[in-house]
Each structure stands twice: as C-alpha cells, then as structure tokens.
C-alpha cells in the first residue's frame, strides 16, 4: 500500500508548473542573495575577472585600427622602416591579452565552485528542510513533484548560474562600454544606434514573451506526458489484460501532439531570436553608415570620416553581445520558474517542536528518587522543567498512555476520529479491530504526533504529549509500519537505524529476536549485504522481519504495530508473527490486529467504526455482547444467530 493511505484520503494537490513567473525581480535578488551569502568574495572576483577579460577583448579589437593608423601607415611612408615601436606595441597588447586570459581562467574556475557549491547548498538546505516538514506536507504533495525539485529545477539553475548570469554580465559590460565610446565619438549618431537597439529590444520582448510562454507550457506539457507515461507503464500489465492498448495509445497521442505543439513553438521562437537580433544589427550598421556618411560629408558637428569608421566598428561589435543576451533569456525564465519552486519548499513551515519535556538517562537512587545521568543507564526518565517556577521533576519512563476525549481531523472542520478515550498501563496490549477506513491507523499516528489532535488530550506517563519534545516522544515509541521502508545500505545499517549507537552484537541479538537472523545469514554477505532500491532483492516477509528487528534494537517501552500481513505465504507469515510476538513481550503495545492469537492475548480490544470506538473489552466479553465484534469474528449478523 502506498504511504498516501495513512494520510487524509483526499485528492493531493499537485504543484503544476505555472505558465507565468510572478515577481521575477524578487526571485533574482533572492537567488543572488543566496549565492552571495556563501560566495560573496568569489562573486566579486568573478565580476572583476569579467571586467578584465572584457577589457582585454576590447583592447585586441581596437588594436586593428591602431595597428593600421599608428604603425603601418607611417611605416609605409618611411624609407627605413623601424619595426621596434610596433614590436613594443604588440608586446603591450600581448600583456593585456595575457591578463585577460588569466582572468578568464580564474573566472571560469571560480564559477565552477560557485555553481556547484550553490547547488550543493541548495540541495542540502532542501533536504534538511524537507526532513523537518510535517507529515501532512507529504500527504498533499506528490512524491514525483518533490523529486522534480531536486532534479529538474536544480538542473535549470545550474545552467543559469554557470552560464546565463556571467554571460549576461559579460555582454552587459561590453554593451555599456561600447555605448560609452560611441557617445564620446558622436552623440546624434549614437541616438540612431540606440533607436535601433530599441527596435531590437521591442522585437526581443515580443519574442521572449512568446517563446517564454511556450517554454513554460512545454515544461507543463512535458510533465503531463511524463506523468501519463509513468501511470501507463506502471499499469502496463493491466492494460494488456484488459486489451486497452488502443485507448491508451489514443490518449497518449493526444497528449503527445500537445507537447509537440508547445515544444515546436517554444524552440521555434527561441531559434529565430538570434537571427532577428543579428540582422537588425546589420540594418543598424547600414543606417548609421548612411546617416554618418551624410553628416561627415556635410561637415556637420566636425565629424570626421575617420571617426565614422571607428563608430561603425563599434556599432558592429554591439551585435554579438546583444545576440548573446537574447539567447540567454529563455533559460533564465525557465530557471526562475525552478527557483520559485525551490524557494517555495524552503519556505514551508517546519513541523512545530516546542515541547520542553525531554527524555534523559536516569539513575534510581537508594531512596527511590531519580537523578539524571550522563551515561546510558538503560533507565530513562522524563525531565519536566516546570515553566512557572523552574523546578525540575523526573518522571520515570514507563509506557503509560491515555487518550482523553480526543477528536481529530486531517483537515480542519472534517473530524475523522470522534471522542476517543482509552488508556493503556505499562505492558498492556491494546488491539484495534474494525474494517478498512475505520480509523485504526489514524489513532496510532496521533500517539507519535505525526498529526496533532484538534480536541482532547493524550498523556504519556501522565504528561500531555504536546509538552514533550517530539524527538524524545518518538524515541520512546517503536513503530512497525505495514509498508516497510528500507534504505540503501547494509542490512546491519538498516537494523541499526533503530538505535545508532547499537553495537554489532546488539544488532544481531535484535535480528535473532525478530527471527531475521536466519535469513540474513543466508544472504551473500550476511549482515554486510548491501540493500538497494528499498530492499528490492528481499521478499515482503523478509523486509517485514528487518523492520521488526529495527524496532527491537530501539528497545522502546511503547510499541505501535501494524499487523497486516497480506501476500505472505503461510510459512513466512508464521515466522513474522512469531517475531512480532517476541517483540511485544513486556511492552505497552498498540496493535492494528488481524491475528486471532494477538487479539486473544490483548488486554483490551477496541472495535472501531467510522472513527468511533463502538465496543471495547476482552475477546470473551465482546463475544458475549454479540455486537460488531461478534459479527466480524463469526461472519454472521447477530440477528442470524438469534433467528
């Protein structure tokens, strides 16, 4: 069963990529702030390097003119040409160029660090934030959407940080410096040039708008198609059994054609961007040449022909940086949409953990009083610092749990558990029975505060669990869930997940208790066998045994068990249940029970129906009552029996 089943059984909201990025300015500044926080010096150096390399580039382009005007022309006129000044000039430019190359080298190396480092920081921040989010977040966001933040969105950001931003800065500096030189040469002609740039910008804006919209639409359509592919591939065997190939293909064709449409348009507008800008640049060259030519010939503003030549060279060199900026815009739009989703996750509220009662190692003195100990004593106590007067109480950890008129709903206003009251004294077993959807799993999720209750109180050893530090509360509870989750790592590590400081011997002892030792020893590398893909190489029963061992090594006073053992053959099921029995011995246990022996051995059975406890008592008492329990047990309606 997928994890969704534990949560509110309502539709999960999907984070569809939206077709428009809101507040791009705010996003960029936040992103830059994020990068700058860790890499400010790097960034400053990169900017300096970009200045240096642009400078070197300009020097080398300007040199052609200097070469001809200042060196070749005079040399041509002189009878005994002296190449020494030219050699000196070339050496000077070579030095500039060398500096430029070094700057480019440094800039690129720094950028690698900035980019990869920022991505690493983002990943780490995302992950640690995700770990702190409440369970309800995972109920309402599909796993695929969360995953795509780590993969797609981070990838688009890499492109933007490592290429788009520096490229745009580089081009921006070039454009500004060229424009300044042009202004210096001829003011009116610069206006002509600027006018053309204005036209370019106008066209660019139109094209960016078009392609940007289609790019985001393409992302969305790609998401839809991929989602459909995943769903159909997951159900491929069902499709075959129901001969639904034709329908599936038809539906796919529709979505696929839509994607083609948006992908085609997105790329088309992106592709025609560059030629448009370049050719407009050429047009600008012609216009400036004609206007400038007329101005120079009429002697207007003392504009010389030589000046016009320089001006036209500058005008030409504007072309390529403007083209480059225009090419980067699309990836910036995509990256910002990704950054938006990343920051949204980072902005999610953490699970509240304001409990001040903590769990400490305790020592029981000769007179029966409890003191705190620095070392692991095997005995635990709740340390309760009273907020009013600052006095400290130590309450021994025993495993006494009380529900007092508890109401709960996953969404406000929709109560799914009504007025639940019950208690379990240390070592008692409480069994929940009832049909699917009666609220059995929900109750167990309240004890460890996966969800917070709306009304009523839950007490653990007499302390309201809202006052207990969540981590400590959960540490005192063991959980064996119906769907087991194993992590990539050795079998040993997976069991040790229950208690990190457990020794190898303790882990093996726990595995023995859980009846897992025998099959683990048969694995190729025993306890050191590496599990991958959620323990894909193990059978369902073996995975369950490992999760029991994990709870056993944690050795908590209170245990929450989900006994459902579907699709396990009888032999394995017996081993699993035997392991569970051993684990339950001596602990307060809440068990979602299916097995007759578990229920018979329970101190109290709660029969749940539609979020209420409708019957409670021991097996015999409940049979006497001839109510719902009797009906579940015998398969007969009470009336059948009396009839």
């Amino acid at each position: 069963m997928p994890a969704m089943n534990h949560g509110p059984k309502g539709p999960a909201q999907r984070m569809r990529p939206r077709v428009r990025v809101e507040n791009p300015g705010q996003l960029i500044s936040r992103l830059l702030g994020y990068i700058g926080r860790k890499y400010l010096i790097h960034c400053i150096l990169v900017v300096l390097c970009i200045f240096a390399s642009v400078f070197a580039m300009v020097q080398s382009t300007l040199f052609t003119k200097t070469l001809i005007d200042d060196y070749i022309s005079p040399l041509l006129l002189s009878s005994a040409p002296d190449f020494a000044p030219l050699a000196a000039a070339i050496t000077r430019v070579a030095v500039f160029c060398a500096v430029g190359i070094l700057a480019a080298l440094l800039q690129q190396q720094l950028l690698v660090n900035i980019t990869q480092g920022t991505l690493r920081n983002l990943r780490n921040d995302l992950f640690s934030r995700m770990q702190k989010l409440p369970i309800s977040y995972f109920d309402t966001h599909s796993h695929g959407d969360i995953m795509s933040i780590y993969t797609n969105d981070i990838d688009t950001l890499r492109q933007m940080i490592s290429q788009s931003l520096p490229q745009m800065l580089n081009s921006g500096i070039s454009i500004v410096s060229v424009l300044l030189s042009m202004l210096f040469l001829n003011l009116p002609l610069t206006f002509v040039s600027l006018l053309m740039i204005g036209v370019m910008l106008l066209c660019s804006k139109k094209l960016v708008g078009l392609s940007g919209t289609y790019f985001l639409k393409q992302q969305r359509d790609l998401g839809t198609v991929n989602g459909y592919i995943e769903e159909m591939m997951d159900g491929q065997k069902v499709i075959k059994v129901f001969c639904h190939e034709e329908q599936a293909t038809q539906e796919f064709k529709k979505l696929n054609d839509q994607l083609f449409d948006s992908a085609y348009n997105a790329n088309r507008f992106a592709n025609i961007f560059f030629p448009v800008v370049i050719q407009l640049g050429n047009l600008s060259y012609v216009v400036c040449a004609i206007v400038g030519g007329i101005m120079a010939l009429s002697g207007f503003w003392g504009f010389s022909l030589g000046g016009l030549v320089s001006f036209l060279t500058f005008n030409k060199s504007l072309n390529s940086p403007i083209g480059q900026i225009s090419q980067q815009l699309n990836s910036v739009i995509m990256a910002l949409a990704g950054a938006d989703r990343i920051f949204r996750l980072l902005d999610e509220d953490e699970e509240v953990n304001d409990g001040y009662v903590t769990l400490v190692n305790a020592k029981v003195e000769a007179d029966g009083s409890i003191t705190e100990s620095e070392h692991r004593t095997g005995t635990w106590a709740w340390k309760h610092v009273h907020q009013t007067d600052g006095t400290v109480d130590y309450v021994p950890l025993k495993g006494d749990v009380t529900f007092d008129h508890v109401d709960f709903g996953y969404v406000p206003g929709k109560i799914v558990l009504h007025d639940i009251s019950m208690y379990a004294t240390p070592g008692q077993k409480i069994a929940f029975v009832g049909s699917t959807g009666a609220g059995k799993t929900t109750i167990t999720n309240l004890i460890n505060r996966f969800y917070d209750i709306q009304d009523g109180k839950i007490r653990y050893d007499g302390i309201n669990i809202n006052k207990i530090n969540k981590d400590d509360l959960r540490r005192s509870l063991g959980m064996v869930l119906q769907d087991t989750h194993l992590f990539t790592g050795t079998v040993m590590e997976n069991i040790r997940f229950g208690r990190l400081d457990a020794t190898d011997e303790e882990v093996i002892a726990a595995a023995k208790l859980a009846n897992a030792d025998a099959f683990i020893r048969r694995l190729p590398q025993g306890y050191q066998t590496v599990l991958t893909g959620d323990g894909a190489s193990l059978s369902q029963g073996q995975r369950q045994l490992l999760s029991i061992a994990r709870a056993a090594v944690a050795d908590p006073p209170v245990l929450i068990l989900d006994e459902a053992t579907s699709s396990i053959d009888t032999r394995t099921e017996k081993i699993v249940q035997d392991g569970m029995d051993k684990l339950m011995a001596g602990r307060t246990t809440f068990v979602i029970a299916h097995r007759l022996s578990t229920i018979r051995n329970s101190d109290c059975i709660m029969v749940l129906e539609q979020g209420r406890i409708i019957e409670r008592g021991s097996h015999e008492q409940l049979l006497e009552e001839k109510g719902r329990y009797y009906q579940l047990y015998t398969g007969n309606k009470p009336s059948d029996q009396t009839a």
């Binding site: 059984k9 990869q116 796993h143 069902v238 992908a263 030629p275 370049i278 699709s567």
Partner: protein, 586 residues
C-alpha cells in the same frame, strides 16, 4: 540503430533536410556581409562617396533580409524537425510497448521504460536539433572563413590552419578527459536522487525513529562527494573558454605582426591594410566554429547512449503473435493443461512449471494454494496467454489458447492481477475499462457482486468520484474490490482472481465468493489465495509446490490425503489465523 531512429522521422524528413540548407544560406550571408561592410568603409566612407554607401548599404539590407529569412526558417524547421522526431519516437515507442508481451515488460522493467520514454527522448531531441543546426553551420562557416582567408593571403592563413589543428587536438583531449569524469559523475548523481526518493517515500520511518539529523548528515556527505566530482569534471570543460581566448589573441597578434611586415616590405602589394582588417575579422569565425563543433560532438556522444536505449525498445518484437486464422469466440469455460512446462527465460535452468496436466470443468470454482514461488501466478498467467508455454499445450473451451485471437481470449478470460492498478479518472471510468459500453446499471450490478457498491455509494460523488493515480485515495481492500468489479464487467467465461482479496476483510471476502458462485454460475472461477478460508469452499483445490501440482481435490479429501495442505490448514486454524478467519463459514 541510426536506421531505426531515422525511420521515425516520417513527415519531418523535409524539415530535417531544409534546416541545414537554410543554415548554409545564413552562413553564406554571414560571410558576405562583412565584405560589404568593409566595402562601405574602404570605398564609401574613406573616399567620401555617399552614393557608394547607399548602394552597398541597400545590397547589405537585401542580404540581411535573406539572412534573416534563412535564419528564421532554418530555426523554425529545426525546431519542427527535432520536436517532430521526439514526438514520433515517443509515439512509436509507446505503441510498440503496447504490443509487448509480459515477458518483454519484465525484461525492460517499468522504471527503465519510463526513463527511455522521458529523459532519453529529451536527450535525443536536443542532440538532433544541435546536429541539424550546428553540424552543417559550424563547418561551413569555418570553411568559408578559411577559404576567404586563404584567398586574401595564403601565407598568413596558414597561421589559422595551424591554430585550428592545435586547438582541435587540445579540445579533443580535454573533452575526452571530461567525458571520463562525467561518466563517473552521473551515476553518483543518480544515486543521490535515489536517496532523496527513498527519504520522501520513507519519511514516516525516518520521523518515527527521529533520524532526520542522521539522514541529513548522510545526505550532506553524499552531496559533498557529488560536489567534488562535478567540480573536477567541470574544471576540465571550462578550460576551453580561456584556451579559446588565448588562441584568438595569439592569432590576432601574430597576424598583426606578420601582416604589418608583409604590407610594409611589399609596399601594399602583397597585402593591403583593408585585407589585413578582413583577415583579422575571420579569426573569431574560424575558431568559434571549431569550438561549437567540439561542444556538439560531446553532446552527441552523450546522447548516443540514449539513442541506443530508445532503439532497443523500438526493435523489441513481441514473441506472442496472433494466429493466422484466429478463433474469436470462447465456447465455454473449460480449461485443460496438457503436460505444460514453462520457463520465463530460455536460459533458465529449472522450469517454473514442470509437466502440469489438469482438467477444469466449465463453471467450476477452483482454488489454488501454495507457498511463495511455487508457481501459482505463472500457472494462471498462461491461461490468458500472457506468456506462451515452453512445452505442452493449454486448451480453453476445447481450443489451444494459441488458436484464439489474443484480444478475444483476454476479454473472455478475465484476470485480476496480483499487482493491480487503477488509473486516474472517475470510478465509473475505471470500471468501464472492463467494457466501455457498460451502462451505469451494469457497473452498479458488478460492484454489488464484489461488495464495492457499499463504499462507492458512500463516496462524495458516488460513481463519479475521482480516483487518484494508482488508486492512491482508496484503501487496499477498496482497490481490490474495484479491480474485481472491473474484471466482472467483461462478462468472462473464465475469471481468475490472483490473490485479489488479500486486503479485504474475511467477512467481505466470503460475501464476494458467495455472490460469485451464485451469480456467475457458468463462469469458471480460479482463485489464488494465501488463506485456506478463501479457497476451502471451492469445488476443488489445486495445491502447488515448487512448480508442480501436488494435489487437486476437494477440501475434505485433501485434508485426508495431502500433507502439505493439511499443514497449511492446521497452521492457519490453530490460533495462528486471522481473527476474522471464520467469516463466511456459515
């Protein structure tokens, strides 16, 4: 492989041919326009000839317009060709997967099929667009510029030739080294994402054991490793940019020096100043094209693996084929296994099913019980020809299953698979998978038989309620009941339930079985189960062990004669069974 993929170009062949053509046109304009620019300066501005400026300017505008048209069309055709190739590939793969046999699906695995249909296609699409637009453009641009350079001054152009060769070799070396690093880096990156996936789906376990800190620090270590290896790999790649700068600068300075000497010593005869300016302008063109070419090369190499994986799916042929003259009607629900052996793979040593012979009468209810891996599922999957037998034959309604039209057979032999799936859509849409023409009443009736009506009618919109992908908003038992109802709507001759009520409580399970036996009296029902209680009321029970049938008889007789059956029965009834075990034992 290239052949398989290029076949999918289909209607986009024209676009694929036009794109490079327009690119060549654009490059030609790009090469000619600088000549005109030079002419404007040399013959127009320098000489103060405004007429010349206007005439050449007009020519340049015309060329620019042609260049613009070529660029726009080339871009558009390129986009269409690559997006079109992607669409056709996706469609062809999807369609071919629909013809896959179960064996092929198993061979590729679901997750790998998904990657091939998504990431791999995107890679190929991007690479194809690059090839169309750049692979012609860059070399042509380089050759044009090089030709111009040689035309202007063969001696000086040799500088470029040397530069191109040297830079080319260095680029190739860098790219080769970088590819090695990237090949190491990408699997690590996948591992990192796998660990995120693991934590997202296992978040309850992480939280229950307060392992947030632990997992985060584990993740951070992995993410630091990724950082290190990517930094190493990218450091290689980014050298190319400064290297390129260096070559450009060297060429410019070298040509400036040599050119100046040449002009001065020959007195503007061997080379003019204008020609020197043009020579220098071509420098950027030549080297930039080389650089783009090397980038395209890397991209193409990286997408090669993707192309290969796509081709594999396209080339996969289903080994199950419809017979030449198929039978469309299954006359009755009788099933006969005649010395059937089966192995999933030719290379497997021991068969999954070994020499099985069975005779099941039409309308009979047959239970199958046996441990994990005993071959229960394999046995029933052969009946609707999801796999072909390796030896022997299976007869349904008196005909060999290989004589039937496959669709007809599967419609009349309904299987409710162990791993069953619901699709996003309404409840009624899911039900109509069984029969798209089923009326609402028929759907309700089917749901009543398998006790699904009771929970559906309680859902907010009844039969129009939305079902999430995979049925995520339903419980396991509810999903199973819907899946049975969906199969019932086929009105099959044979109904196979492969452990399909494991999550349904025993009382409901019993109700379903009773309803099935009374309302589908003519349908042969085969029920695989783990619980003895689910099968003991069947007419006969097959006990399977290690790929063989070790008992096929009634519950009572098996208890007497079959040791395996007896031990399973005893272990489940003596306190070890489910608490609602007795449900259905009226």
């Amino acid at each position: 492989m290239i052949k398989t993929l290029s076949k999918q170009l289909g209607e986009f062949k024209k676009d694929s041919l036009l794109t490079p053509l327009f690119m060549v046109l654009e490059v030609l304009m790009e090469t000619i326009i600088p000549l005109l620019m030079a002419s404007i300066i040399d013959d127009g501005v320098e000489k103060g000839d405004i007429r010349h400026i206007c005439v050449v300017g007009a020519g340049m505008v015309v060329l620019a317009a042609i260049g613009l048209a070529a660029g726009v069309l080339g871009g558009a055709y390129g986009a269409r060709a690559s997006a079109g190739l992607a669409r056709n590939l996706r469609q062809a793969m999807f369609e071919n997967i629909q013809t896959f046999s179960f064996a092929s699906i198993d061979k590729f695995s679901t997750s790998s099929l998904i990657t091939r249909l998504t990431t791999d296609i995107t890679n190929v699409q991007n690479a194809y667009q690059m090839i169309l637009r750049m692979c012609v453009r860059a070399p042509i641009s380089m050759i044009c510029a090089m030709a111009m350079a040689f035309f202007l001054s063969p001696e000086l152009a040799c500088v470029y030739l040397v530069a191109v060769i040297v830079l080319g070799i260095i680029l190739a070396l860098i790219m080769r080294r970088a590819t090695v690093y990237f090949k190491q880096a990408f699997p690590k990156y996948d591992d990192l994402n796998a660990s995120v996936q693991e934590n997202v789906s296992g978040i309850r376990v992480v939280k229950a054991y307060v392992r947030e800190q632990f997992e985060t620090s584990k993740f951070m270590t992995a993410s630091r490793n990724i950082y290190n290896i990517f930094v190493k790999a990218e450091r290689q790649v980014v050298i190319t940019m400064p290297l390129m700068f260096g070559t450009v600068f060297t060429c410019i300075l070298l040509i400036s020096w040599l050119g100046a000497k040449m002009i001065v010593s020959s007195g503007q005869t061997a080379l003019t100043t204008g020609e020197l300016t043009s020579l220098l302008a071509y420098c950027m063109n030549i080297l930039m094209s080389l650089m783009i070419l090397s980038m395209v090369f890397v991209m193409v190499t990286m997408s090669m693996a993707s192309a290969q994986r796509i081709a594999q799916v396209l080339e996969e042929k289903s080994e199950l084929e419809n017979p030449a003259d198929p039978i469309f009607e299954v006359p009755d629900g009788s099933i006969r296994f005649d010395h059937v052996s089966f192995r999933y793979n030719e290379t497997c040593e021991s068969p999954v099913l070994n020499d099985i012979s069975l005779d099941i009468r039409s309308g009979e209810t047959v239970g199958i019980i046996g441990g994990t891996g005993s071959g229960k599922t394999s046995l029933v999957n052969l009946i609707s020809r999801l796999y072909d037998v390796s030896a022997g034959a299976i007869y349904v309604g008196g005909h060999d299953v290989r004589c039937y039209d496959m669709e007809a057979l599967r419609n009349q032999v309904a299987v409710v698979l162990q791993k069953n799936v619901l699709f996003s859509g309404s409840v009624i849409e899911n039900l109509r998978w069984g029969n798209e023409h089923a009326t609402r009443e028929e759907c309700v009736a089917a749901c009543q038989v398998c006790c699904a009506d009771e929970f559906i009618s309680k859902m907010p919109d009844g039969y129009d309620s939305h079902v999430e992908r995979g049925g995520a908003n339903l419980s396991g038992g509810q999903r199973q009941r819907l899946c049975i109802a969906r199969a019932l709507l086929k009105k099959p001759r044979v109904l196979i339930l492969d452990d399909s009520t494991s999550a349904v409580d025993t009382a409901t399970d019993a109700k379903i079985r009773t309803a099935l036996s009374t309302q589908l009296a003519d349908t042969t029902k085969i029920i695989i189960a783990q619980r003895v209680s689910s099968v003991q009321s069947a007419d006969r029970i097959i006990v399977m062990d290690d790929g063989a049938v070790c008992g096929f008889d009634t519950h009572e007789r098996l208890l007497e004669t079959n040791a395996i059956y007896r031990s399973v029965y005893e272990s489940q009834t003596q306190g070890g069974g489910d608490f609602d075990e007795n449900g259905g034992e009226d």
